[in-house]
Symmetry: C2
Subunit: 415 residues, 2 copies
């Protein structure tokens, strides 16, 4: 579902992989008209796994279609000067609501300088790997953040995160930057070139969370501590019937709830006496995490998940289940049509599936159904006519010359 | 460093922990006047680890000061009606640039309804755990995403991420929402109440990245595959002198570079012959990841880091080192004053340390030095005078009655 929040705004996206396409998706979900430009046949991310099964291995990518919902697609041969010129004209098209490019490809022929010569108030948001223009991706940035060394047990070396967390943060930040700079252009008439480096997002997060200062000022490095949370008490526990739950007691109130729900006050008194610690203090709870966890392990081992959940809900303990994605889809109402953030989409070449729209809930503002990710070039003719004012004959010539293409054939359509 | 990007904008923040404070920090770094309201003595996150060493355990939190850079601080006793009324008046203060509240506390006395009665075009952004108002934090949401089961080796159960990735994504999204809804208010005159749930951010990310559809449509669940990346080729390798590097070959070009740099074409031909796979295709590279990694392990084991880096840079291989935070601070120019995103701050109670400002790079737009996180209540009098127009005498009475406080004493100041 999408909201009309951003006002009339057209964004041309020339991008691949996650950060820039996800930024474009967020902008589309809040009402921007996002036109994704791809090479004829698709860019380097068009076939990324997972893909629909097809004998020739060319089934549609669930990754690409997840990231490109609600956008319009135009397919252009950008190796040829005529194709490049079309994309330049699209990006720098006239009108107060146009003139915004979102990219992570860094193509010199689509640089801010080239576009600003066509339109003085051009806005360009370029996502980079590193700020000096050198390449980096989530995996090669994350390895330098120190986080893999703090993850898991620490016994078998660093553990990479699987969620591309820096790409995701970078995408949301880029959407923020576009909203901010377009707002600024509306007030001042000025365009801007903005660069956002994935590594700057990652390393600035380390600063904001106090991780850099902890090492610089205190000379400390956070150890890998399995699934314990840092700085208070929290860990995963397994119930008698084999279900795993994450439990957290960060605030004093959450700790009191946990102690009450698990009738743990005698054990807590014993731990406090043996250790000289005051477990009402979060830092001292962190220090005593192992004896606390031992006491809780014994408690969980005697109770089923349903008993635990009943007690925890009654005392408002902060906890959550571990789930596989299948379990999440089967049994969690937060990932279902019971949640207004979700809807069913029918994506060409894929079929019907659950899909998330705009994440915010805004009472009184209408939500419109999302459109699925387009087939490549679905909107080629429409965009060339609407945005560039080309006639049917002119568009026909571009097709004949192989400068533009689309729409591609729906792989699910009958032969 | 901060930019003037958002135009005149005042945001009142009543918040704790990460998501809402980080959203406020991002807004401050792009020019908003963010006034953080705290209880006298600090809210529940004021002492979160890591803290400066002090005999009484009450040293300043490097976490809190990291998240509250560049904000103004007012300390108010919000248990008392007079204190609550002051905060309501601050949040709903008149003027086109005011009337924005950012919160994750869900206090009924600071609800949108209460504030909209004071100011019809009030904007409120409330970050929740779950969309139904039930509590959840990064740890208890993450456990349900399936990611812990895909992380690490899979042999010792699920592995939690250590980076609070959903909090971080939620923060950037909330900053986007505030920029968008304030832009909308400037155009339409309308205020809005916005809710953003941490779990909606997490589960919608699973949709956008194709993870939900992979399970729903294809019936597949991603396995835990150590530090291999999914869907192409990438993994960590150790050099002869014991340094670990992350290597990725996602695109065809990156794969060609890796094969060239490691003179691996004979090995590749052998793997292709044995397996019947075409390693130029990313999905087939993923299938053949183990024999590829074996060949690379042998190659890395014979070479020092500096040899590897020289070869990789010459061939533009996509790679990055693993670093601890100490190594990052010691030797990575991306986390130093050589990077314009970074600056040195002198934070009261902490001293001088490296700190990140706004992550974007915007040629031609001036960057101003950031201010450090304030001591609690540093701006109490200034804010009461400036925003609410209170006289010195009226402010004095509030102090005398214990309704407001500050500034607290700098713990580093001489006695």
């Amino acid at each position: 579902m999408s909201y009309e929040m951003l006002g009339p705004l057209r964004v041309v996206e020339s991008a691949a992989f996650i950060a820039a396409p996800l930024a474009g998706l967020i902008l589309a979900q809040y009402g921007a008209d996002v036109i994704r430009v791809d090479a004829i046949g698709g860019g380097i991310d068009y076939g990324r796994m997972p893909r629909m099964p097809r004998r020739d291995g060319q089934g549609r990518s669930l990754y690409w279609t997840g990231l490109n919902k609600g956008k319009r697609s135009i397919a252009v041969d950008v190796r040829r000067p005529e194709g490049r010129e079309l994309v330049q004209q699209l990006a720098a098209a006239p009108g107060p609501d146009a003139g915004v490019l979102l990219t992570n490809l860094g193509a010199p022929w689509l640089s801010h300088g080239v576009l600003a010569a066509l339109r003085h108030d051009m806005v360009t948001c370029t996502i980079q790997g590193n700020g000096d223009g050198s390449p980096a991706v989530d995996y090669t940035v994350n390895s330098a953040t120190g986080y893999p060394m703090m993850t898991g047990s620490g016994r078998d070396g660093p553990v990479n995160h699987v969620l591309p967390a820096w790409d995701v943060a970078c995408a949301h930040h880029a959407a923020f930057l576009v909203a901010a700079v377009v707002g600024r252009r509306r007030r001042t008439g000025e365009g801007r070139e903005i660069f956002l480096a994935l590594s700057d997002i990652a390393f600035s997060t380390l600063s904001h969370l106090g991780v850099l200062a902890e090492t610089e000022v205190l000379g400390q490095e956070r150890p890998a501590i399995d699934n314990y949370l840092y700085g208070a008490f929290g860990r995963d526990f397994v119930t008698a019937d084999g279900h795993r739950l994450m439990v957290a007691a960060i605030s004093a109130g959450q700790w009191a709830s946990l102690v009450e729900a698990c009738s743990l006050s005698d054990e807590v008194a014993r731990i406090e006496e043996n250790s000289g610690l005051d477990l009402r203090d979060e830092a001292q709870r962190f220090e005593a995490r192992e004896p606390i966890a031992q006491a809780l392990e014994a408690w969980f081992a005697k109770r089923s998940r349903s008993e635990v959940e009943t007690l925890f809900k009654a005392e408002r303990v902060l906890f959550g289940p571990y789930r596989s994605v299948a379990e999440l889809l089967d049994s969690d109402p937060r990932v279902s049509l019971a949640n207004p953030v979700f809807e069913r989409l029918d994506t060409p070449g894929i079929g019907s599936h659950l899909s998330a729209g705009a994440a915010a809930r805004i009472p009184g503002l209408a939500r419109a159904p999302s459109r699925p990710a387009p087939l490549l070039g679905t909107h080629t003719d429409e965009v060339l006519h609407e945005v560039l004012g080309l006639s049917g004959a002119a568009i026909g010539k571009l097709h004949d010359a192989g400068i533009v293409a689309g729409p591609e054939r729906d792989p699910a359509a009958k032969a």
